[in-house]
Symmetry: C2
Subunit: 98 residues, 2 copies
Amino acid sequence: MVLLRRELGDVLREERQHQGRTLREVSSSAAVSLGYLSEVERGEKEASSELLGSICGALGMPLSEVLREVSTRVAITESLTAPVTLPVAAASVVASAA
Amino acid sequence: MVLLRRELGDVLREERQHQGRTLREVSSSAAVSLGYLSEVERGEKEASSELLGSICGALGMPLSEVLREVSTRVAITESLTAPVTLPVAAASVVASAA
């Protein structure tokens, strides 16, 4: 199962690192503890909606943008973990090409 | 502040109602308590990533799709609550039209 907190943590951490900022800076700006932010980034803790909003604010990234990015990543993971079904048409093409 | 759990709850409730299903049916299918699902739908409880995954599974709606819909709604709310700044060019047009 794709877990929201893992994908969310990845997006938040990558954005922070992209900005060249430390856990200490962002946690201070978001008024959350460094340990909490670290756990959220590692996908080990569910961020409450309020603290997620604070973290997004500290990163200067709208929540909608964070969620869109998370949605895109989750879609990729879903497509990788979905059972593969070969369409009949494609199978016929393969058969006739052989 | 836009709260993820409220927008998420709205999306999950509307999808369930769109399918014409009851809280009892979906909570049973997702193996979560009816009270929990009800609180999540009302935006009163943060859904854990695992239970959110179960609820999405019960609704037959990929998590990525739920998040994309939530992202769209959050973006609308953000645009409505953002401070309004009138661009200089637009202000000039208004001034010259007056």
